[in-house]
């Protein structure tokens, strides 16, 4: 069992160490991490703006969770498979998912729509906790196949209260499944603070099911990367599941529909603003001379460009075909769906006819 919270980069941007784990530190690697965190933040901000402008129905912002997600995302190997929740845009980007796919979902164009097998990144799951069981089953399948991959599944602190998540912990333990449970404890489940969800630190939950639980500083990308890598490696080498509690903070609202001022105070937010995951990495990079102002300007400009492109592509996204309502329900057809589709087409045609007759 790992002791204490794993941290390699404190909020002052200084490197620290931990007896049980080791960080990989290279200027190149750190810059890449910084870049991906910056892009996920920029992409996220763009989505929030697009929602404000009516282009999206809703957006759950990852603001503050960039280190957790980019750290975990960088730990993944090509054969690994991710079962995300709905706020894991950073991991999606690491997997090579086109952010437009994420936006299309929150635009209401589709309820998912990307091919999970293409990037080994499953569809977002909105029902809290459900995907954790899917992930466990998938991991059981990996083991059956003798596959070299492992599964990483993401969920929030609130999700740990769901029976499904406990059942998944237990199935994973019993079947010794190659899986990493990656819990982003961002302190809040909408308006409910951690103490409404749990009496003890969440990584401790794993003890009761018989596998290790580790808390990492979720705003420290190096710690998230190192511990997730370690846990994935454990999984791949047949040592079973691990629970990682990435202790982080939801700096923004739960979603664009939420108003956190109703339930949490500015002091807490201010405290966490000082612990911003990007700022501390930037401090480190600058202090070591591994990146300078020009580098950060370039990153910002690149992100800006991509954000502009993303916005343009989103705006150009056509509305879905009404036929989608019927097209994908079953693989082998279903008489009633076929009948309804036909009737729907006939009904739609009456409007076309009416329009045609100039009515």
């Amino acid at each position: 069992m790992t002791t204490g919270t794993v941290q390699f980069l404190n909020h002052e941007g200084e490197l620290t160490s931990h007896p049980d784990h080791e960080a990989e530190i290279s200027p190149d690697g750190l810059r890449k991490l910084y870049h991906d965190m910056a892009w996920s933040r920029r992409m996220d901000a763009e989505a929030v703006t697009l929602q404000r402008q009516g282009e999206l129905g809703l957006w759950p912002s990852l603001l503050g969770q960039e280190a957790a997600q980019i750290g975990a995302g960088h730990a993944l190997g090509a054969a690994d498979y991710v079962f995300p929740s709905y706020r894991d845009h950073g991991i999606a980007l690491c997997r090579g998912v086109d952010p437009l796919d994420l936006l299309r979902m929150f635009r209401g164009v589709t309820n998912g729509g990307w091919d999970p097998a293409e990037k080994n990144f499953h569809l977002y799951t909105l029902v809290i906790g459900s995907q954790v069981l899917h992930a466990t089953g998938y991991a059981m399948g990996l083991a059956k196949d003798g596959s070299p991959g492992a599964v990483l599944t993401c969920f929030g602190d609130g999700a740990t209260s769901q029976g499904d998540v406990s059942e998944a912990f237990n199935f994973a333990a019993v079947y010794h499944a190659p899986i990493v449970f990656f819990c982003q404890n961002n302190q809040w489940a909408i308006s409910e603070a951690n103490e409404r969800q749990t009496r003890v630190p969440l990584h401790q939950r794993a003890d009761g099911f018989g596998f290790p639980g580790v808390r990492v500083d979720g705003n420290d990308v190096l710690a998230c990367l190192a511990v997730t890598k370690w846990a994935l490696e454990r999984a791949r080498s047949g040592e079973g599941p691990t629970l990682i509690e990435a202790f982080t903070y939801r700096m923004g609202a739960h979603t664009t529909s939420d108003d956190p001022l109703r339930y949490r105070d500015g002091e807490e937010v201010a405290y966490w603003n000082l612990r911003d995951p990007l700022a501390r990495l930037r401090t480190l990079l600058e202090a070591r001379g591994w990146a300078d102002g020009a580098y950060f300007d370039t990153v910002a400009a690149q992100c800006e460009e991509r954000a502009v492109d993303l916005r343009a592509r989103l705006r150009a996204t056509p509305d879905p075909d009404p036929g989608d309502i019927f097209a994908h329900v079953h693989a082998d057809g279903h008489a009633l769906v076929d009948e309804e589709r036909a009737r729907f087409a006939a009904y739609q045609a009456t409007f076309a006819d009416a329009a045609g007759r100039g009515e």
Binding site: G108, N111, L126, V127, D164, E192, S257, P320, V329, E340
Partner: protein, 326 residues
């Protein structure tokens, strides 16, 4: 509270406030119902007023919420549980179906479970998946539950009063797209019994039977039809279990034609039960088969397609035309 024009969210809020104030055994519990006042603000201010021993922010676990509510009811409490959205009631379905619904019969009446489960339901608000469903048939089929759904603020106020005061479990479906529609609420009025349907608009030529969010659509349809000289009667069923078949029968034996309207998929939906029973009761009165307008047999679509998926005025009138063509 005096007579006021209130949106439905506020009417339910006032009704819960009254319930909490008048019976110390009433509790409100659910996710985000306390400090936040619920994602729709239905429970706004209640925790502040009654404290967190009466208004409980619970862990994020619907089965746990309903399961502990059952335990609290066994201890003499009267919990009003909020399920945050329709699509999230299913983790609690086992507790509702196998425990809440059956415990009274299991005990031969020695135990009652006065638990109200509030479920904001239905579509039309541009939401993401699982936030727009209409699972009422999945509860109406289950013996031991009562299932009601107001269509307007006034009914919402009163039906909540009645649901909380009753000794049976009630699944209380709140049509979220009507949350902000206003109506006059008079806390001194005498309400209709909880399970009585209402004639929302009288008419002669055909009956539209609807509930919850679709009552307004039917009223709009009736108004549109009136302009073409057709007189449609609109029934607001209000309760699905029990369902006021006497009211439907009376109406149908006058109009001789019936169209049912709901957002839920037609297949195995409420319209089927209404059609079957009314046809049995009024076989010789019907001049047309009961026609059903509802959702398609596919998962609720992404929001950009919901206007296509949901019954609207045109689809109701199309069915009216078809029924009148017999």
């Amino acid at each position: 509270m005096t007579v006021q024009k209130l949106p439905m969210v506020k009417a339910i809020n006032e009704s819960l406030r009254r319930a909490l104030a008048s019976d110390p055994k009433v509790l409100v519990m659910g996710e985000d119902v306390g400090r936040l006042g619920g994602v729709f603000r239905v429970t706004d201010g209640l925790q502040k007023e009654f404290g967190d021993e009466r208004v409980l922010d619970t862990p994020l676990a619907e089965s746990g919420i309903v399961g502990t509510a059952i335990g609290l009811a066994l201890r003499g409490y009267r919990p009003v549980v909020e399920i945050q959205f329709d699509g999230f009631v299913f983790p609690a379905y086992d507790q509702i179906v196998t425990q809440l619904a059956k415990m009274r019969a299991r005990s031969l009446g020695k135990v009652s479970l006065p638990v109200v489960i509030r479920i904001p339901y239905g579509g039309g608000i541009g939401a993401v998946e699982h936030h727009s469903e209409s699972p009422e048939a999945l509860f109406a089929h289950v013996a031991g539950l009562k299932v009601v759904t107001p269509s307007n603020a006034r009914d919402a106020y009163w039906m909540m009063q009645q649901a909380v005061r009753g000794d049976d479990p009630v699944i209380f479906f709140e049509p979220k797209r009507r949350y902000w529609d206003k109506d006059e609420v008079d806390p001194g009025a005498t309400p209709l019994p909880l399970h009585r349907a209402a004639v929302a608009r009288p008419g002669e030529d055909l009956t539209l039977a609807a509930y919850g969010p679709m009552v307004k659509v039917c009223l709009d349809a009736a108004r549109a039809a009136a302009e073409e000289g057709r007189s449609l009667e609109v029934l607001d069923l209000r309760s699905l279990s029990p369902l006021d078949f006497d009211c439907v029968q009376t109406s149908v034996e006058k109009t001789r034609r019936l169209v049912t309207v709901h957002e839920a998929p037609v297949f195995f939906g409420a319209g089927a039960e209404i059609a079957a029973r009314v046809t049995e009761r009024s076989f010789y009165h019907l001049e047309a088969p009961v026609l059903r307008v509802g959702g398609y047999h596919s998962p609720y679509p992404p929001s950009r397609l919901e206007d296509t998926y949901l019954p609207d005025l045109d689809r109701v009138l199309d069915a009216v035309d078809r029924a009148l063509a017999y």
